[in-house]
């Protein structure tokens, strides 16, 4: 990927700022998401809550299903490849979707290497729990970052933890004298040049969305107030009682995240949210955020 192509990919993510990206599993859901004001859809066969329930190996979705969704909407279409599975990524690039999510929600294909994203023209978004993880993915060519959170739980606590961790590390970096950056980069696994960049900018050099556990308009507004640039909602919409209503409400609350009156309006009469999972009740081997490094 040349520099210009990479910049265009970062800039597409910039155009998604302040928006909501929704997981959809079929054409009908994609249309509901677009109609509700989603800025993009993530096409996948099973939402994370079902992947969690079903167990087994979760892979890239059937390309014909992704193609059908791509045909049915005009907003950008994203799809997930397994961590390290560069052939799934090649297939998704050949399918000419708009963005690939190299995602811990799917079962990793490689426990040592993430995809060398610089080899692709298509943009990638990757999950991160902290600044080091975010910058390692950017060094590999990711054009957008999202918190990992804990997908499929309807529990926002991990997304909050990851966002706060990133913000804390960015603030530390921004304030330290430059001679301390080398040690900080070494101890936290930060690529040095990117660490200097973050220090200069006081934030990530690419768009950073929140993901993993967002289930209500208040969750979305919380993540926005914590400084993320937009939100992914996975199981939170189509596992709730009234997906269309909830989708619209989360779009409203994300746009007006710092206006409690409007978030209040958005929160009324939505019906049941998706069932939530307490993180401590999840067996350690089923924690998705631990996949990738």
């Amino acid at each position: 990927m040349d520099t210009k192509r990479y910049e265009l990919n970062v800039q597409l993510a910039q155009m998604l700022k302040g928006g909501v990206i929704m997981d959809v599993t079929n054409v009908d859901q994609a249309k509901i998401a677009e109609e509700a004001g989603a800025v993009a859809v993530m096409a996948l066969e099973r939402v994370p809550a079902d992947i969690r329930k079903d167990g087994g190996v979760a892979r890239m979705s059937d390309p014909s299903m992704i193609a059908a969704i791509k045909k049915s909407v005009t907003i950008p279409v994203m799809a997930k490849a397994r961590i390290g599975h560069f052939v799934e990524a090649q297939i998704l690039e050949a399918l000419r979707i708009d963005y690939i999510d190299e995602s811990e929600v799917l079962t990793p294909a490689d426990e040592e290497c993430h995809i060398d994203k610089t080899k692709f023209s298509i943009p990638f978004v990757c999950g991160a729990r902290n600044l080091g993880e975010a910058l390692r993915r950017i060094a590999e060519g990711a054009a957008m970052i999202r918190t990992k959170g804990e997908a499929g739980t309807g529990n926002v606590v991990e997304a909050v933890r990851h966002m706060r961790t990133m913000n804390r590390e960015i603030r530390q970096l921004a304030q330290m004298p430059v001679e301390e950056v080398t040690g900080f980069a070494k101890n936290n696994g930060l690529p040095y040049e990117l660490a200097l960049k973050v220090k200069e900018l006081g934030r990530l050099p690419v768009v950073n969305f929140a993901a993993g556990g967002i289930a209500t308009p208040a969750d979305a507004a919380l993540m926005m107030q914590l400084g993320c640039d937009g939100v992914f909602v996975g199981s939170g919409i189509f596992k709730s009682a009234d997906p269309a209503l909830r989708a619209r409400a989360i779009v409203k609350a994300t746009a007006y995240f710092n206006d409690p009156q409007k978030v209040l309006e958005a929160s009324m009469n939505l019906g049941e949210a998706m069932p939530g999972l307490e993180i401590s009740q999840i067996p350690p081997e089923q924690i998705l955020a631990g996949r990738g490094w």
Binding site: K4, E7, L8, N9, V10, Q11, L12, Q14, M15, L16, K17, G18, G19, E34, E35, A36, G37, A38, V39, A40, K70, T74, I75, P76, V77, E93, R96, I97, D98, Y99, S121, I122, P123, M166, N167, I170, R171, K197, L201, G202, R203, P205, Q225, L226, G227, D229, R248, V251, K252, A255, Y256, D259, K262
Partner: protein, 224 residues
Amino acid sequence: MSLRLVGNKHSVIGVLDLQGGVHEHLEHLERLGVAYKRVKQADDFTDLAGLIIPGGESSCLSRLLNIFEIKNVLLEAHRRGMKIWGTCAGAILLAMNVVDEAPCLGLINITIERNGFGSQLDSFVSEALIPAVSPESIPLTFIRAPKIIDAGADVNVLLKIDDYIAAAENESILVTVFHPELTGCLALHRYFALKCGLKLADDSRNYIDPLWKISSWTKYAGIA
């Protein structure tokens, strides 16, 4: 640098702050030295000489305009003289005709096709000379851009490329399907500020600012 016009009535340019490339436009207006603000609530429209509707997703923006009744406030401000510039998704919202869709604001007699080039893999950069806007050729960034495929007799075409129109205007509306705010080009922002009746010093940096960087927008989108 040009004169800052803070305080004068109707001398502010607003950027519609619902979704999309808001920070990038704020950054360019700051560079140009005009008074600017984010526009999100009905009250925000009162002192605007002009409004920029940024790139983003037009389906999201049109829904948000409708649900919080910003649309009528915006149209009322336009009737009393506020100029509007739409980039990319903003151009779609301003068009009178949108292929296969209902128009949103319908303020300029053009026909526009959403996502006219294909997927993100078809996004591209190029450059062109727009004599009315800048004496030199300017960089153009197209991201999942729409195509203006037709314009009425009352529309002044500013830039035509191959089979589509990339920039056009009428008396009160400016549309570009590309993104000057994603380049160091200030020429369109300058052109729009003049269209809004603002006065600017003639400074060469008001066409292309060599100090602009790809990450310049981040200054306006800090962490919490």
